[in-house]
């Protein structure tokens, strides 16, 4: 294969080498390797218990992997292994360049703090100390995720499920992260709300040039959002490829089963 000399080669944003996590004798995920390039959205699909959430939590530093390396292209020092970073550095990444959208908004939001405060928290955590600025940034982001600004001082407990999820997204994106981890972002929402959320997510990801890793069992979600797909079974990656390629022409028996199992309306 010849390299196109005109396209400058961009280093991957995230490089994962042989990531393994065991729960005692059981496997969480095993020997996972992949590259994620800037602006790329990667989907991870598989059935419950296939290790996709374990993998995501290991990547985001919320779980400690047993072996392997997760190289992240930091703004300051270039690629660094996040597993060898100090907890302080990892937390700093977690509130600047990384974002994590939980399946259940209650895990990602502070339910007793107003919507504005929820959005502002990350800003304040990285040193914003001007109330007016924080408030206008929060207002801006609430508008972007289609939450009326007069709901800004309401607590998330008074929001519907879809609004809570949108608020969680605003709260995560306010510091302009480069990599977003999403764990079943549309889980538990009804289909019309899901569709709007997907539309919003797709717009944001494209406009901000975000890289994202989306874990889901919903193939429709990855079809809409993901550029590339990784199929997991029993903790291992069984198939990777472009989303359309994997979904339209599945090679591995398990992927074929997965694609064939989708209900048609």
């Amino acid at each position: 294969m010849t390299k196109n000399q005109n396209i400058p080669e961009r280093p991957p944003l995230l490089e994962v080498h042989d990531l393994t996590k065991n729960y005692g004798a059981r496997t969480g995920c095993a020997d996972v390797s992949f590259n994620l390039f800037p602006g790329e959205v990667m989907g991870i699909v598989g059935e419950s218990g296939s290790g996709k959430s374990t993998l995501l939590n290991c990547l985001a530093g919320q779980l400690e992997a047993d072996s392997g390396a997760v190289m992240f292209d930091t703004r300051a020092d270039g690629p660094r292994d996040t597993r060898l970073m100090s907890e302080a550095e990892r937390r700093m990444l977690g509130r600047t360049d990384w974002a994590f959208v939980h399946q259940n908004p209650r895990d990602g939001l502070r339910m007793r703090i107003s919507a504005g405060g929820n959005v502002g928290e990350r800003l304040m955590a990285v040193g914003a100390r001007h109330y007016g600025d924080i408030r206008s940034a929060a207002e801006d982001w609430l508008t972007r995720v289609e939450i009326a600004t007069d709901r800004m001082d309401d607590r998330p407990a008074a929001f519907s499920g879809g609004m809570q999820q949108r608020l969680q997204i605003a709260r995560n994106l306010v510091t302009g992260p480069r990599l977003v981890f999403m764990d079943e972002p549309t889980g538990g929402l009804d289909v019309s709300v899901q569709a709007r959320l997907l539309d919003l997510l797709r717009g944001l990801v494209r406009r901000m040039g975000l890289s994202a890793i989306i874990v889901t069992h919903d193939l429709a979600v990855v079809r809409l959002l993901a550029d590339r797909l990784m199929v997991m079974k029993d903790g291992r990656v069984v198939e990777t490829g472009l989303t359309d390629q994997v979904l339209d022409d599945p090679q591995h028996a398990y992927t074929q089963l997965l694609v064939a199992s989708v209900l048609q309306v």
């Binding site: 907890e87 302080a88 937390r91 509130r95 502070r110 703090i113 107003s114 504005g116 405060g117 502002g120 928290e121 990350r122 304040m124 955590a125 990285v126 100390r129 001007h130 109330y131 007016g132 924080i134 408030r135 800004m152 001082d153």
Partner: protein, 276 residues
Amino acid sequence: MSDYNFAYLDEQTKRMIRRAILKGVAVPGYQVPFASREMPMPYGWGTGGVQVSAACLTPEDVFKVIDQGADDTTNAVSIRKFFEKTAQVSVTEHTKDATVIQTRHRIPEVRLTEDQILVYQVPIPEPLRFLEPRETETRKMHALEDYGLMHVKLYEDIARHGEIATAYAYPVKVEDRYVMDPSPIPKFDNPKLESAALQLFGAGREQRIYAVPPYTKVVSLDFDDYPFDPSKADYPCALCGATESYLDEVIVDDSGGRMFVCSDTDFCAGRQEAAA
């Protein structure tokens, strides 16, 4: 009375507490865990302060106790009597004469000196407690200087009340490092935390000791556009006429009558004497 060891606690316990105090002084604002003892008083009445005082007192000390600024309320009188009985130290109500002052919820109006120790009674030492209930998590936040949450609380205050409505136990940052709860003193007293005296904080139930050494930098948290404001009631004291002291509001009858008087009784009495 010879049945008690000097200042009630046995010498080993006092050593243990002094070690915690020294560590607290070495790391200003850091909460040092210590093996708090059962004291002959209920939790919440100053068991932490009493233990710190007991570890600090020497037979030559002159001891003063303040409760909400007053020397003559139940808590102050009983703790003062306790050490009169168990340590036979001399006691005083005059801030200037005292070498060890145990206080609940106030800092004396008179400027303290290098020869004095101020001991605070602390109910909840953890400034992040009501924002993050997990102790493991708050310790980690202190270790990593992860203090964004503290400002979220102030943000919520402004969003809801139009100003920072926290009026007591106002969070401070000590020596640009640890965020500390100055115990429930009114925020009016916060500027006085930068003092010539050694300040020790004891929380008996929560088993924590922390300290602010003399001349340590103590900054009250705020926003650039909502700066810290050490407010007080906008009246002069009805008894001594002081305009610069912290005031208590006293209801005097059933028809809405009220007066504002100095909360620091020694300060007020001193001014009345000087005027007479």
